[in-house]
Symmetry: none
Subunit: 422 residues, 2 copies
């Protein structure tokens, strides 16, 4: 099994101004392809410290994954440190320079002189293309004191650029170098019930030491089951991972909305597309988040065309035809109002479905009868408009996020022709 | 100045199942009391690796701050590793045992036998009370190979318990040992130009070794300058940080929109509030993201009431009054169309300003004339409606994010009564 260390470089990390999310992401990716991560290290933008960290890590690991410190500024010192540890000078790489020049030309901008440093690579290293930015990556071999080489990959610190580079270039290389024992991970996603409820239902499947193992993680209200299988042969590993995944499906049923990279909005979009249906949105407290979520996906214009953000009562009346009496007698956060919002939106958009949301996102505006976190959501279709009231317990961002996800969950169960199990 | 390393221990961190937020939090606290953090390291629940990390860190630093690995289970090995590095056995600490027993008695629960290990401390170390959980902390001295001692503090990994212990016990100790020297950090945010352009303009201010130092970081298109000042007295440190911040402002002018925790939308909302003005939104490719961003903030109803997501051409015509001839002759992504969207939105909302966005977010839908990343943005006010065309180079999420931010930037400069410097 290949062993790897992850090294993050940047003053902002060591000063705590930025939380390092790269290391956790890289660790997950490496675990998924059977590379054993033995540790993370973070050092400031200080060349001697970067060199010491590279030397220490490369002497104990097969692979060293570095992110950060390859920008165009004076405090970007990773390339210099790698060259120093290799004992070679930096050289201008013509391909890297051409890529840089093209990058700026495409933007109709003059390349600043300072960017030239980004085309300099340690002699004997290879460039890794950056498809999203100016900082080319570096692949190099560092001789170990005890003999043999350690492979070093250097990537930009910007998470988006780092992830694109890792997935496109480095992961396939590591995978082909691996061989032997395999790890297969499947992640199954649920939304709507808590982690402990999911864990209780799964029972023995979550026992420690089981192989495949089943663990839960929670992010943004999504409770995910991670199934990890480790066996000698890849076939056996896949087979066992599938068998355990099927057992989870058996127990949790439609609570599982998707797996691995699938998002709730992707699943809902897929169901809408399958049914040839469209949806419109009418939002108050989520302020456009539901529409934004539906349009995160390319090609969403086939299923979504019309959205309203009616943050004020006047907007609800003027744009969606909510009656002023309804607002006056029930208040903006009420099932009565979201029902009129959803049916108004559906009629005006000429869509098959409409979702509406009105709630108290907080931190202010809560009352005893309508506390912060109380949210009404309605779903209109050709037959009827039904509303439900939820209570989300968290800050403004939390309440808005869960509201948008719950609206999508309601539409998902409608499209499945089932009632919501929560 | 005291130097410190932060060591986090846990398989879940090294496997990427949990993002390590403790290190960033501790770094911030340490910086605030004038302790210089020289790096972070993360190792799995593996005793030899924990020992190696403790030895390496304690040989280079005055203080080593450890979190994790002191729970009651078999994979909690930090106390054993500290004892091994100190070359002493673990001993039962009567105070720690009494505290544990009391803890369980208060919960009316029998103390599981496995918890007894939590009352074991390396001989010669001191217990640090845990007011929120069962894992007592450890304070110990480790002899350095080069002579002298390194002080080691061990805390639980659970963030809530760790933070309580650090603030109550460890921070005051470090502060009293430190004496004098302080670090003050200021972060100034810009949006609209690249990192290298900002760095070139700042020139000598960014020179390495300067104190206060000025560095740049980029996140979501926001280029931030980090000003760090380190001097013996707190007064001098603040004074110098302010002087360098002022120099950055002098050079970059209105390119700097805010500092520290301020977001672009907060600044724009503040300017709108000051002027007593309102804004409406009309979005195509951003699909609600601009409205969502404006309503991220509590109290946004005073400045934002109406938003439209007109993803289809028909929606642009029906909801905003965009002329079908304009759509036919210029296409949905054109300055002509966003101008009609913005003025239509402003008229319907009765707002002071309206922002509109239409672009090719990708990954599909690009043509030679209108490539992926081309985005038109218009701003309407009582006098006129002006549009600009931008080219953002990145994936769908990138294009949508930068479009929403650029719209906010346009509104900001309008409210400042200045023309955009980019």
């Amino acid at each position: 099994m290949i062993s790897a260390m992850i090294l993050s470089i940047g003053d902002e990390l060591v000063l705590g101004q930025t939380v390092d999310t790269n290391s956790a992401w890289l660790s997950q990716q490496l675990a998924a392809i059977g590379v054993r991560v033995t540790g993370h290290a973070t050092v400031p933008d200080d060349q001697p410290r970067i060199e010491a960290a590279i030397s220490a890590a490369s002497s104990t690991c097969d692979v060293l994954i570095i992110s950060g410190g390859i920008g165009p500024t004076e405090d970007d010192l990773t390339r210099q440190a790698v060259a120093a540890v290799m004992g070679v000078p930096l050289e201008l790489n013509p391909t890297a320079l051409a890529t840089l020049t093209t990058f700026f030309a495409r933007l109709n901008r003059q390349m600043p002189e300072s960017n030239t440093i980004q085309a300099m690579l340690p002699r004997g290293s290879q460039m890794i293309e950056n498809t999203c930015g100016t900082a080319a990556g570096i692949k190099a071999d560092i001789a170990r004191p005890a003999g043999g080489n350690s492979r070093v990959y250097v990537m930009p610190g910007v998470p988006r650029e780092m992830k694109a580079m890792f997935v496109r270039d480095i992961m396939p290389k590591l995978q082909s170098e691996g061989g032997g024992a395999a790890i297969v991970s499947r992640t199954l996603h649920t939304f709507g019930v808590g982690e402990s409820t999911v864990a209780e239902q799964l029972g023995a499947l979550m026992q420690r030491g089981r192989n495949p193992s089943v663990g839960t993680t929670v992010a943004g209200g999504v409770v995910s089951l991670r199934v990890n299988a480790y066996f000698d042969s890849r076939e056996k590993t896949i087979e066992e991972a599938e068998r355990t995944s099927a057992a989870c499906h058996q127990i949790l049923g439609d609570l599982i909305y998707g797996q691995d990279g699938e998002s709730l909005q992707q699943v809902v979009a897929g169901l809408l597309r399958q049914a040839g249906k469209t949806v419109a949105t009418a939002e108050s407290c989520t302020g456009g988040l539901l529409a934004k979520t539906l349009t995160d996906l390319a090609g969403s214009s086939a299923l979504f065309s019309y959205g309203w953000v009616t943050y004020a009562n006047a907007a609800k009346e003027q744009l969606l035809g909510v009656k002023s009496e309804t607002l006056a007698s029930h208040g903006a956060v009420s099932e009565e109002v979201v029902i009129e919002m959803a049916s108004g939106a559906r009629a005006r958009a000429g869509s098959d479905f409409a979702l509406s949301i009105s709630g108290v996102a907080g931190p202010d505006g809560g009352t005893e009868a309508k506390p912060v976190g109380m949210v009404c959501i309605a779903l209109a279709d050709a037959q009827s408009t039904r509303a439900r009231t939820f209570r989300f317990s968290g800050d403004r961002e939390f309440v808005r996020d869960r509201s948008a996800k719950m609206a999508l969950a309601m539409l998902r169960f409608k499209l499945l022709g089932k009632s919501m199990p929560f």
